[in-house]
Subunit: 226 residues, 8 copies
């Protein structure tokens, strides 16, 4: 039977880093600080890496007491511990955000990718309302091996970028917008209905999922290269 550690309220899946190439990620929302701390301790007893998403300052201060090198990113609300930082991160991901308000979700994707050993460039505020901002940056997008596109409101950016490049795109709808955005339903549907192929979609505001998927693609590239 594969190894996992039973904390009763949680079962730490130490085997995950073997199966999936990455340890369990802690989703902080809905967990008490005590639970987050206990889970973190268990993971770090077997791993050199910890990622806690959807957290807050208060939980960070608790984590900080136990892991002095913990870091908190105010923008994405991610706590991370890298006891043994990866020296050379694999480049090849670019995270493109349609608007400034989409940056927190984009940042969640970037930190997730970095925590998994990848290097993610960023290109912010290039939404389709000012196409020249996108077109003048298209070469830097074309240099990537995987593209993450984060957009709220009409969610039109992934379709447009997809028409211009032949690189796989992970689209992330955000809940940025109001009224008939219905908390991100509008860009979610837009992205699922992209008229240009080569786009797949993750959950609303799910920067973590996009960062993970992109890293998974990128690290597989690397695996086959070696």
């Amino acid at each position: 039977m594969l190894p996992f550690e039973d904390l009763d309220f949680a079962k730490i899946d130490h085997h995950r880093s073997i199966r999936k190439g990455f340890p369990e990620v802690v989703y902080a929302k809905g967990k008490t600080n005590d639970q987050v701390v206990s889970i973190s301790k268990a993971i770090l007893s077997q791993s050199t890496n910890l990622l806690i998403t959807r957290s807050n300052k208060e939980t960070f201060l608790e984590i900080k007491k136990h892991f002095n090198d913990a870091k908190f990113d105010e923008v994405s609300k991610i706590i991370s511990v890298e006891k043994n930082p990866i020296k050379e991160k694999t480049p090849g991901i670019i995270v493109v955000a349609a608007g400034t308000s989409d940056i927190p979700v984009a940042q969640e994707a970037i930190l997730t990718a970095e925590s998994m050993g990848c290097k993610a460039e960023s290109l912010f505020d290039v939404g389709v309302a000012g196409l020249q901002r996108l077109l003048s940056n298209i070469e830097s997008i074309k240099r990537a091996k995987v593209v993450i596109v984060v957009a709220g409101m009409d969610g039109a950016l992934p379709s447009v970028i997809s028409g211009l490049i032949d690189i796989p795109i992970i689209a992330v709808p955000t809940s940025v917008g109001y009224g008939a955005s219905f908390d991100g339903l509008a860009p979610l549907l837009t992205m699922l209905n992209s008229c240009s192929p080569g786009v797949s979609v993750v959950n609303i505001d799910n920067g973590f999922g996009a960062g993970y998927m992109a890293s998974s693609i990128l690290l597989n590239y690397k695996k086959y290269l070696n």
Copy 2:
């Protein structure tokens, strides 16, 4: 009291052409052939112009018996009678369709505009999947005074065009697509959430409404010029 004619199952609003500058339009769906014929007779007794939308061949043949100059457009399913054709239609509308499958809705907009005395150019299959098709035609769009943009699937085209021009855009979502298009809900929400302003939206597949709105804007321009 304003004039209308009572057919019992319908009250023909002859005053509408005074109030609105255009006689009643007959929406054929859900009406019997007899009803459509009777309503048509009543309208044409006071007007030189008749427009019947969402019709079919069979109803057309009935109408044809009474109005020999009736025409049927197979693509848009519109029956029209122009007893006294407008010689010089006012130019200034362009109807842009994202894909070939959106043409029936676009055609409904074009014929509506023509029936109201406007001239509508068309530009088809310039969806965002191949941006160069749009960009190389942008000048012909810029020459228009009102732009109608018809799109299904992701419905991204109005946002993109809106970012490039300063002309009012009427966006028409279509039910073209499948799965999470949910019969046009996806492009409807996309268009309502356009990140670039200067876009307003009519009902799904409502080419008639778009043609009417655009003509209303255009004819008002003309009115102020004269």
Copy 3:
């Protein structure tokens, strides 16, 4: 390549005032005060005009430190800077609101139009529950060149007004109401399904979009007149 200024977290599209006749508008929600200030500085370095929507008192006080002539409208939550106020605003827009609670959205439309150089009259609390209030004001509506109609609850007002005039109507559903209004979905659907043509619709509570669209139509009128 067209000019834009790269602040990293935002790319200021200075070309927009050339393309669209109006500089970028800042949507404050989801942006930090620092971001709003930086973006505002960049825009005002090239433009004499600034509009910030969906803001609040606190952000205003920050902006005020840098731009002494900034104004804040409590009702619509709009911050505006007009360094070189337009002397003669173009008249021709009327903003009609169904109820008193719809006024904040109506006010957003009015200030947007004024910021774009138009003059918008207002007519408030003329919902269909008391038709005489509307009918006795219909002449002032008929004098307009574009009509904005703001309504929550049943959203019936645009249909009724549209039956009485031949002027293009921009309808704005609001989230005013409760229960089966579903945050504005009810009036949004009502307006999209208007039985009288000549109505097009913008997003729920999107006074800005309506003001922009109406100004775009009006300024085009003016352009063709000159």
Copy 4:
């Protein structure tokens, strides 16, 4: 225990005419012809009145074999048997339909009311697109004791009528329309959110329910008068 008759696949509630003042109504959809005939026989063994809704010609011909005086209304798809016709029907209901396409639902309401011993006047095609058609008929509406208003598309008619009269209104949304009508959801929500009070709503296309409710109100008036 109250009387009912057990046909195994159906339990005929003969007591209903005592409790509710009206025998069971047969909803034909989803029942076989044999089932409809058997249920009809059982009801007519105890009652002089039968109403079958949502039926069709074929079922009617089966019923006709057993009940020679059965009648079928092509418009509303109602089969009715009145073995002992009510001589004097109670007047006081008016059924107002917004458009010609709403007539089948309106007709279902009228025949239901008549089957229950009421007399229902009709006023068709007075939707808000041509307000004068409604306003010039308002006196005939004001003479009613209960008003049924049937409307599809924007469903705005009940709100407008309600603002003009102090008589209770039963609103019936119809599935007439297309696109964002979503099969009648749009007018249903409109009617539930009526800005003018004195309106209550029944199911989409439910002419039967409206006719029943109105008759129930009217017959109660009569009961208290006697």
Copy 5:
């Protein structure tokens, strides 16, 4: 033209009490205290009766300064002023609530009815989970001339009561419940689909609308009796 008073932000429809038999009701949500006070003053300048719904303690204290006899009902959040109390209220309404948590909505219906000159009995906590509570009170329901049924969760109570009586029922869904109640959508749909006829429905949590509709029916009874 019919009389109304223009406060600019509101147009007081003084004619409403003539047309509708009842003055305008103030919906406080979304209005400032100043607006509520001004509107109240205008209404009370022409009427002896004032009803303000969806209010709160703070607004009440403002109103109290101007109208010493104003009353505030904590349960329903209604402010009312009766300068010349109706001595004899017309009996005949019963308000039935399925559960204790539905009482605020029921109370809104009761106070509305009383403000309109009707007397409304109440019967609370007789939901279908304990049918004997309902059945042992059925006679008091049968004595009513109109029945209001308020229910959240499954919203099954109106169907059950409707099967037992031949009195018109106004059903009010409430947002009481959790999860798949979706803020009252579940009981709303249940009530619209009632398998027993004689039920019509108002908006979610709309006790006011139900009280108004029931009073409208009841006062009409009275009118025909006199």
Copy 6:
């Protein structure tokens, strides 16, 4: 590894009868006749029992060629083969249907239960519109060990029955109804929000799932008794 048979387009899970006490059930919709026949042969090579749901006459005739003792139930569209019929079926299930139109779904539940070795009684047309039909049969319901309640429209029946008995109820919403039933969404939500506990719900029209769940409960009772 557990046994399964690979037909390429299907993998027959012969182990399921060991794990789950019942062999695989074939869901015919979306499968070709050839596929259904091949799967059926594979299952019957290891089992004495076969159940095919959502089938039709044409598929039955194909199956009949290979399995002469196959039976087809016209009402529920179930094909069944019992090569070695279970002599003594375990009693204890009752299937209650609100209306005659719900019988096909109820029948699917009954045949599923019988195929699993249980005996299911039936009680049809006892919806809440005529409560006495239910109350006079309540003792036969109380004799059951598990109750399946099938209802469309308002879906109120499970709540009412649940208030009267202390036996677990499996509720099945049906798509019977129209308008705001939204193909069974209305009774589904009603049942999930039952105000009386002891009710759990399966998918819309899923008589098979209800029959399976009830049999699973009943056979477990039997297992613990032996």
Copy 7:
């Protein structure tokens, strides 16, 4: 007539413990503290057992004043009073939770079951992301007589467990998750569409309903054994 106690705002159904084998449960949300206390007193005047769900600390302190042996569970927000604790609880229920954040709902199920005289084991954090955690605990699940499965996000756990056991499963979707979870709609739909039979579903976050249903099944087993 069956006994109930009328507190006016509530009717205490003392007969429920006879009919249903368990006294009324108090749902605290939407009730005032005074109401909860009065209802609790009435129930405990006839019963030795009290369960209050969806409560909070403040209400607990009020209850505590009157019933010194009241207990409050912080995790599930349940207040319980057992004046005469059941000595031997019936074992046979296991509550399985997919993630740590699902524990509050799971705990509500456990305490409900215990209050009804059952003993519920727990197995937490065995979601399908780490299948070995589930598979290595499958034997403890197989020992149960009824299984409750609590899951948010994708809600996939009930389907997977159902494929492995022949014990009835009560599935509880939770609102844990974000974005396109739509407050639990996603796992609700997943569970209703389980591809493996033997699963029935209760409302989102309805741990109480699941605990009640499972206890009802279990206590029936016991009844038939005795």
Copy 8:
């Protein structure tokens, strides 16, 4: 300007094969046979490869007249022309389908991938109802470089597979199922909410999109290897 060919009703984007590495794909639904033929001719005048999705036998026979080597796949309704077949297709994709009824969508993915020069293995009917069928094939999945998972009903398969492998997964929800599947909405939401990361999603029934995305990832691998 980039090359495209203007057929008026369509603009053939010949540059797409340069930009995207693959020529335009024809979506046949909503296009006339004449349109499909003309577009096909234009594409094949510049390309050796043609893919037509969502087609039918009748359209195929038209295409066949012009392109003798056209092939039609009955299962996926794809027409393809490979004038110069790719000899060595790149292996690395596996298409996993949960059930037999999901095969048409899976087949659309396979043929799309093959048309793009990839080789796609298939593994059908390994849904979570019989986990051993999946677990015994897990090694063949692990050999892939990209995994496509097609599932209807509960859509749980991608989550389960994702927990077992570290290879990127493209999930395709299908409209297979009934009732609360709501035409594929249920598995779509399930997949977007996958509790195990490394999954991204395409539109309902969009086998083409999944095949394209997977090929795009795979061919990029190859590009970096060379």
